[in-house]
Amino acid sequence: MEADLIRQPAAVLGDAIAAREVSAREVTKAHLDRIAQVDDRVHAFLYVDTDGALAAADAVDAEIAEGIRRSPLAGVPLALKDVLAMKGVPTTCGSRILEGWRPPYDATVVERLRAAGVIILGKTNMDEFAMGSSTEHSAYGPTHNPWDLERIPGGSGGGSAAAIASFEAPLAIGTDTGGSIRQPAAVTGTVGVKPTYGGVSRFGLVALASSLDQAGPCTRTVMDAALLQSVIGGYDPRDSTSINAPVPDVVAAAERADVRGMRIGLVKELSGEGYQAGVEQRFREAVAILEDLGAEVVEVSCPHFDYALGAYYLILPSECSSNLARFDGMRYGLRVGDDADRSVEEVMSLTREAGFGAEVKRRIMLGTYALSSGYYAAYYGQAQKVRTLIQRDFAQAFADVDVLVSPTTPTTAFRIGEKVDDPLAMYLNDIATIPVNLAGNCAMSLPVGLAPEDGLPVGLQVMVPPQADDRLYLVGGALEAALRDRWGHLLIEEVPAL
């Protein structure tokens, strides 16, 4: 088990640690070494908590020695997106404005990871306050895609996806507001799941858009995602939007991995114009495999998806303009211009001017405008109506089919710098992932091959109704197994050596 510790799935590592074939410390150390070795090129991490990780690993080893196994993932390392509060560890959300802030509390997700014995290696890079699709909007510099270091790893959770794809961690936590787990998964050849809204507590997740945000797993296998979702999911009384119901048995579904008799809908609106040929090709091939596995495939229409992007870019900025108001230099983080002469308004203003990047400012301004008296009904109000129509589209579709599928992203990973000055082009990256957030459904992206024209990973998105998360794993598990049979390995094995 020694040589390839970093290439093992989390499930395998967890079992090996429990069987004392390898210690949690050895596994943790192997990943810390890998980070030290490659992260200067990948830049997935903003902070590596070496001491904390090793101490946690030792604690797990001590428990294992006493026959205590906290969870199937006990002793397995994980990379945490820097948008989740972790007690005593710098939490920046990729922004200058939070520089130096060390939260005095743990997010619920972090609490649950610790309780399960998962080892948190550190905090991963992201677009500032999760606004972006490339991780280029991080105040701390971009993350690079391990498939091609000149390309973006997706965003906003590019750091988490890149950490997985570069074998710096077998597990990562991302957050998905409009695709920030799934789009990075698609362009890095990894697995990403956005759970049902309310399925994972948002307590301690620094809010971008409260009604859309959801934390979820980033992994290299479907089973690892299921194990991680089981650890972090479930009701939390500290988040009143959290669902008070048992978490669907995603691990059992990932084991069953069966699509026989399932009706699968292809969303007509999520293909065609704007979708790269190689992406469409790999997507169609994957759908054909599902058919071979015993699923019935039909085309369905969700006509209001065409308005999803517009609605999303009103709702998200509106909520974020309010959520980000608290970063005013008064209580924590950056403070600029406090020279004992300037007024409190001036200090707030100078702090925000210096602390926020251009994309954050753009969205705060859009949102402030959209919520203004006299414009509210035309913008925020209309967007909420579109949201309802999208929910209806989904409900109608799911009356006919069990799951919906689409390409996760219209294109493969683009080059760093290619779209950074064209916000609209950047926003279009999330066109296929946004409807799920607006409706509160859950979805998974998993790798289905490399696009012939550029040799870069392509992701397929599975979408299911709220609280039917287990269905994602039936489809994902079946498709992953079939592709592995076809290729003889997981797609991630083809990632170039760093």
Binding site: A85, V206, S322, D328, V344, T368, L371
Partner: protein
Amino acid sequence: MSTVTPIPFDDAIATFDPVIGLEVHVELGTRTKMFCGCPTDFGAEPNTQVCPVCLGLPGSLPVANAKAIESIIRIGLALNCDIVEWCRMARKNYFYPDMPKDYQVSQYDEPICINGYLDVTVDTDEGPRVFRVDIERVHMEEDTGKLTHAGGATGRIHGADYSLVDYNRAGIPLVEIVTKPVVGTGALAPAVARAYVTELRDIMRGLGVSDVKMEEGSLRCDANVSLNRPGAEWGTRSETKNVNSLRSVERAVRSEIERQAAVLLAGDRVVQETRHLHEDTGVTTPGRSKEHAEDYRYFPEPDLVPIAPSREWVDELRATLPEQPSARRARLAQAWGISDFDMQALVHAGVLDLVEESVAAGVAPEAARKWWGGELTRVANERGVDVATLSVSHGDILRVEELIASGAINDKLARQVFEGVLAGEGAPDDVVTARGLAVVSDDGALLAAIDEALAAQPDVTEKIRSGKVQAAGAIVGAVMKSTRGQADAAKVRALLLERLGVSE
């Protein structure tokens, strides 16, 4: 801005009709804050009753306090409101350092209680008159932190050397009760305003949802006033903020009527603005102008789920409502055999609860009213304290009454007994003993005093002898004086007449 000389109230009312509106904020007495588990105790060290939630730390989330929602529904029901089946909290966005999140979680266009009313009674020359004050909405929100500005002349944030903020108060649940415009009150507008706030305070107290102490700010009132000529459109209103006593509510309305009338009669226009009442002079002065209304960019709070009180729950809460103050007053007035006017006097003196408690302790209603409404209120006013805080128990009153009934003391001595009790000299019997307070019942001693008085006033003595019995008062008074009040006046009178051989 030129200052105007207010015109007399009666002249103002002769020319203009006032329209008033009242917004009352009540701090709920829940054990914990609106959206977190922090305690709400008053007077703790600054920033000791805080947590990530009420400090608005990044990532923290609110969870609504079920007890606070229960309280507001009970308030709504007591104010005859409809409790909506579904509503949401909203964010009120503005930057201020006393707000940890730079938005306040409040309610906007979906308040939880709507369309209520409260009947209030005011005294007029023609007797008590009832006014119905319509209530537009009752909604809940979180309180802000508290700023203290150090240095600088104004005590405000601008010009201060530095400012300190205490977030202990941030997140304490507040209820805001807003009336519809109240019209047709005329000269009674100030009295109606006061009666409304008084009634509201009594209802809150009866519900046990707040300690409603205006002086500590747990009940605060904003009073809106506008004037119009009869039949004309309503005028521009001013809003006098944070009025903090019942008397001030009345004075704020009155003062605004006098001021606005002067402005209008001078041909000027009333400016829409907030004003502050000066407790010393009873006059309001302008605060910040509201000509440019701030845009709070309200939108539904996405971190909280909608509130949908089930009808069953609302009915359960309705069943827990105590008797309405007005119904209670009617019941007690009947039980005690007193008039509406006497009842109003007790209410105005703020001693109704005390009288009721004394009666429950066995004191005769008449006596309880006499002591609480008279002597004890007088002492409290003299000391400038709330009569309820006087250190006299209902048992003390009962004992004093027993002493009077047994003839051991009289009313006048009883006042001295209370004086002693209030001075901490012990129970009534201790005071009687220690001060040597006892009715002089020794006939010999009384007769000696009577003879002395008669000798001192021979002309009065003659009058009585000649049958002018009403002149006896002067001699009785002299005897009472010489015995330092320790005699029974009726007995002195009887002995006196017997001495002079005169009958009534």
